[in-house]
């Protein structure tokens, strides 16, 4: 009846007009034109389906569906809306109150999965590496802690003498190094979040962890040097976009040099200790 009016309009206003039109036409069909607002809205998906063939095909299916999706929490009438709301609550908000009573194993599993996902975001290639602020939005310090302690333990296992001193030096260099490198970027006028940077620098140690384990198993100087160079390049590649994006271009080298110095010294420790 009003097709000539609605077709030339913009699609966004078209969808509104469709909704109003549906409401007007749905009034006689549901026998409650002047009733409370929630029952007619809830009946939109049902009543709009007869109008689909006569109207413009693309917009109407999405619009009533979206309307039902948004208004579902206010009007708890249709069972389909109820299931969708249940789905939202389960993955969005429902898990938070349960953390107090959940088994410890679930907590550990959740932390481990977060460590693994952060590790994937930092160390392995993925599209988010170009914007590192997004990549590590959900940072944690468990991963860096494990990687630092693991590297220190691997080095002290492979040392033949003065095992505890090796662990002490490695741990002090890595832990203090992460803090000092972050402070260095901040002092150079960079924009960086302190603990996020600590977390990232810790995750970047993961390739060197792998290299240390390989070097502990293989006792050959040539293999050690090759493995450490590869893992060193990998670690530097992982840390590069974050550190260089934090400062302005004239100071990029000043922010990156200490990071490379720390990784090179750790790599030297891995090679030197047997």
């Amino acid at each position: 009846m009003s097709h000539g009016d609605t077709i030339p309009l913009h699609p966004s206003s078209q969808s509104d007009i469709d909704e109003i039109e549906n409401l007007m036409n749905a009034g006689p069909a549901t026998v409650l034109p002047a009733g409370p607002p929630s029952p007619p809205r809830a009946s939109i998906p049902v009543s709009s389906s007869p109008f689909l063939p006569s109207n413009l095909p693309p917009p109407p299916p999405s619009v009533p569906a979206a309307a039902a999706y948004h208004k579902a929490p206010t009007s708890a009438a249709p069972p389909a809306a109820e299931t969708s709301r249940g789905g939202i609550a389960a993955d969005g908000f429902g898990s938070l109150p349960n953390t107090l009573t959940e088994p410890v194993w679930d907590t550990i599993k959740r932390d481990l999965s977060r460590v693994v996902s952060n590790l994937k975001l930092v160390v392995f290639p993925n599209p988010y590496r170009e914007d590192p602020g997004k990549a590590l939005r959900d940072w944690d310090l468990w991963g860096p802690f494990f990687f630092i302690v693991f590297l220190g333990l691997t080095l002290s296992w492979s040392a033949s003498v003065k095992k505890s001193e090796v662990f002490a030096v490695a741990f002090a260099v890595l832990a203090a190094g992460a803090i000092i490198l972050t402070l260095n970027v901040l002092l150079l006028g960079g924009h960086i979040i302190f603990f996020q940077s600590l977390s990232l620098l810790g995750y970047c140690l993961f390739p060197l962890d792998i290299g240390a384990v390989i070097c502990m198993l293989k006792d050959n100087v040539i293999i050690k040097i090759i493995v450490v160079s590869v893992t060193l390049a990998w670690s530097s590649w992982a840390a590069y976009p974050f550190m260089s994006a934090a400062v302005n271009p004239g100071r990029k080298a000043l922010a990156l040099y200490p990071v490379f110095l720390m990784y090179i010294s750790v790599g030297f420790l891995i090679i030197a200790i047997d």
């Binding site: 003065k162 001193e165 006028g189 000043l254 040099y257 200490p258 110095l261």
Partner: protein, 263 residues
């Protein structure tokens, strides 16, 4: 290069220790905020004032300590770009007398800190290599051992020297009535250590006479650099004793590096 840090002009830094500078700066900020207090009252945003807003006035006594602890009060000393640092490094190797002019007005602490750290790593790593090569030359069946205590020793000696000697000279200069700046002294002494970084690479060579020549050359250049800059810094006052003692100290450091790490 100082547009971003106009709140702390470097002309105030000369002749003052960093803590005093920070205190002075935050006192200035507190004075500003108290004068702004009069102008802004009543608050412009409809009378609402959040508890703990800067107009409170109770926390002004603690703000001087916050200035010492906050990072932004130290960032003027790291206000350098890559080309500036490279220029300073090259002029610290060539002992021409333009280093004082280069750090004039903008002494940085980035160079001293990372030069010292690089030197610590170099001494610990290359000292081990050099000792191993020297032993292997005398008795070919020596096995590689890594002495991790070299790291501790190198850190104590280099950081201690770069930190304590400028402080001592700062107090001596103040005692003799010369207006000195601690930051500039730290900067100068830190850059004077840079020449030991490339010379540590050459010190690996397991030839004893070559090592001695290298370290004597490096030590002479470094102590000449220190003496020259100290002389141009304390121009007008007769402090030859101090300059000679600084020169000797730097040379003793060079000899110590050779004797302790490159046995």
């Amino acid at each position: 290069m100082e547009e971003g840090y106009t709140s702390l002009p470097t002309s105030h830094l000369l002749g003052s220790v960093p803590a005093a500078v920070a205190e002075e700066n935050t006192k200035g900020a507190a004075g500003e905020s108290s004068s702004a207090n009069l102008q802004i009252f009543p608050p412009a945003n409809g009378g609402y004032q959040a508890p703990g807003s800067p107009y409170g006035g109770d926390d002004q006594a603690a703000s001087s300590w916050r200035g010492v602890c906050s990072i932004s009060s130290y960032s003027p000393y790291f206000n350098v770009d890559t080309d500036i640092v490279v220029g300073r490094l090259t002029s610290s190797v060539y002992p021409m007398n333009d280093f004082t002019r280069k750090i004039d007005g903008n002494p940085d602490l980035y160079g001293p800190i990372w030069i010292s750290t690089t030197l610590v790593f170099m001494l610990a790593a290359l000292g081990n290599c050099a000792t191993y090569l020297m032993h292997k030359r005398n008795e070919p069946d020596t096995t590689w051992t890594f002495d991790v205590t070299f790291v501790n020793w190198a850190a104590c000696i280099i950081y201690g020297y770069a930190l304590a000697v400028p402080v001592a000279f700062y107090f001596l200069l103040q005692y003799f009535g010369c207006n000195a700046s601690l930051i500039r002294l730290w900067c100068m002494w830190g850059y004077s250590l840079f020449i030991f970084v490339p010379s540590a690479l050459l010190l690996i060579a397991p030839v004893e006479i070559f090592r001695w020549i290298i370290i004597i050359l490096a030590g002479a250049a470094s102590s000449w650099f220190v003496a020259l800059n100290l002389k141009s810094y304390t121009e007008g006052s007769d402090l030859m004793v101090l300059i000679v003692s600084a020169l000797l100290l730097q040379f003793v450091l060079a000899l110590f590096i050779k004797i302790f790490f490159f046995v």
